[in-house]
Structures are given as structure tokens and as C-alpha cells.
Chain length 133, copies 2
DNA sequence: GTCCGTGCAAAAGTTTTGCATTTAC
DNA sequence: GTAAATGCAAAACTTTTGCACGGAC
């Protein structure tokens, strides 16, 4: 588990405070700066990696493909899917039995085992959709 | 649609010849080099962008999250989902009515409009799953 | 005191941009 | 002839790495 350093704790707190957001390394830096603290970017990346290994946070693939994003792992997020809104960035946790059917069907009929952890549904939430019109 | 340049045609041909592969910009460069042709990387990126807008190719996100990859668009890909295998990189085109149910349900019950074009299911195909065990 | 973690700067890799030149029409 | 596309080099961005220093235990 490694040492218990101040920097590591600051980064963990950052994710705990933003449980519903997906943060890139630079987002963590900004959050820390807003709280008048600073951790080097290299250290942030090194901690993101070890926190992911410890299971405290989870890495996603951002739609832009240009940066990694991580999110606090509430422990049951492996059991459902995430819906991410293009416009506001909000992440909806989809806890619904319909996904079981989907996975079973795709597993049996299409020969593919979906990884819930890594799959994100992209789209637009009702709130943002109504704003647009 | 822009001008009809030799460079653009070379790039299109590259994707037509590799219909089932996902190519990064540097892969395109290599392919062209193997055919004794050369197009500048900047031009490749500019063409990838315009070809994507024209709908000739489709952009994916590499599993590593570190580079963009594009694939020849067979023309109906906007209508279904893509399942991408972590191990071999293969993309399965999911043409199945189950997705209609899924979208309707998530739209009505969870207030979220999924964008099929941008959503990729990550996981493992049966072939790779069997290799692992 | 010994390791591990950190910070800084440099490097690496992908993608974008500025600008002069060439090409398509 | 005009507007757009290209090539090159430089810049931008994210992420990784090397190395000396400082902190955890």
C-alpha cells in the first residue's frame, strides 16, 4: 500500500469531494490549487496509477481520446454502467436490471463479454437537451 | 467536399484496403511508406478530420486512451453500436433490436439520450477469452 | 538509516497550428 | 487568378522518466 503521504491524501480527498465527477490529472491540479495546495503533476500521475491499483479510483477513457480521466470508486460502480452527458459532463449511474439482459444477450448471441467498468454511454441528459431547444 | 487531391485519395485508398482495421495517423503514414508514397503527418490529420466529417471514416478511441484511431465507414455504422475487444482490437458491429429497447428504456426511465456514434462497448471477444484460459 | 515518494525538468508521443509554397478548379 | 490543400517546422498537450532531495517508518 506504500507510504501515507500528505500528497496522496490530498489527491484522495479531491476524488472523495468530487465523487460524481471524472477528473483528469490537470483537473486534480486545479482543484488542489483552488484549495491553496500544490502537488507536482508527475506525483499526481504516479498516485493516480497507484490509487487505481488499490481500487480507490477507476480509470476511464475520455471521448476525446486525448486524456485519461479517473473517478472515485464507490465500491459498487463495477456493478453498473455510467452515462456521461456531452454537455454538462455529469455522470449518471445506471442501476437497472435491463443491463443484465443486455449483457446476457450480447454474451450469448454475439460472443462478446462486456466490461462494465470500461464502458461509458455517451449522450445528452434531459436537462441539457431541454436547454438546447 | 473540398478539392480532389492526390494525398486525399491515397489516404482513402489506405482505409479502403484495410476496411477491417483501425488505423492511427502513424499507421497511415507507415502504410503509405510501404507503398512508396509519402504524405505529411499534418496533412494526414487534416484529411482524417475532413474524411470523418464526410462520413467516409469513423473515429474511435484507442484502449490506451492515448491516440485516435480511425476506421473505414461502411455507411451504416451510425445505426448500430460497436463492441471493441481489449485484446485483439477487433470491432464487432452490433446490429440487433435489443439496442432499441435499451435506448427507449434509458431515454424514458433515466432521462438520457444515448449517442450511438460515440458509445463503444469495451470488453473481450469469445476468441480472446478462450485464448486466455 | 534505509527506502520510498516527491519535485523539477527534460523527454516522449500524439495532435495542432503558422506560414510559405504548391495545387485544384 | 483565387481559394484551398500541402509540407515543414514549431508549438501544444498529456503523460512518462531520470535524478537529486526530502520524508516516512
Amino acid at each position: 500500500m506504500g507510504y501515507n503521504t500528505e500528497q496522496k491524501n490530498l489527491i484522495i480527498k479531491c476524488f472523495e469531494t468530487n465523487k460524481d465527477s471524472q477528473l483528469g490529472a490537470s483537473d486534480v491540479l486545479s482543484f488542489l490549487a483552488a484549495n491553496n495546495t500544490k502537488v507536482g503533476l508527475a506525483t499526481i500521475y504516479r498516485n493516480l496509477e497507484s490509487l487505481e491499483k488499490e481500487g480507490k479510483i477507476k480509470k476511464f477513457i475520455d471521448v476525446s481520446g486525448r486524456q485519461g480521466i479517473w473517478q472515485y470508486n464507490s465500491g459498487h460502480c463495477g456493478q453498473h454502467y455510467h452515462l456521461k452527458c456531452f454537455d454538462c459532463g455529469k455522470v449518471i449511474h445506471l442501476e437497472c436490471e435491463i443491463v443484465e439482459n443486455l449483457e446476457n444477450h450480447i454474451g450469448k448471441e454475439h460472443g462478446f463479454a462486456i466490461d462494465r467498468e470500461k464502458t461509458i454511454f455517451y449522450g445528452r441528459c434531459d436537462l441539457c437537451a431541454s436547454k438546447k431547444c
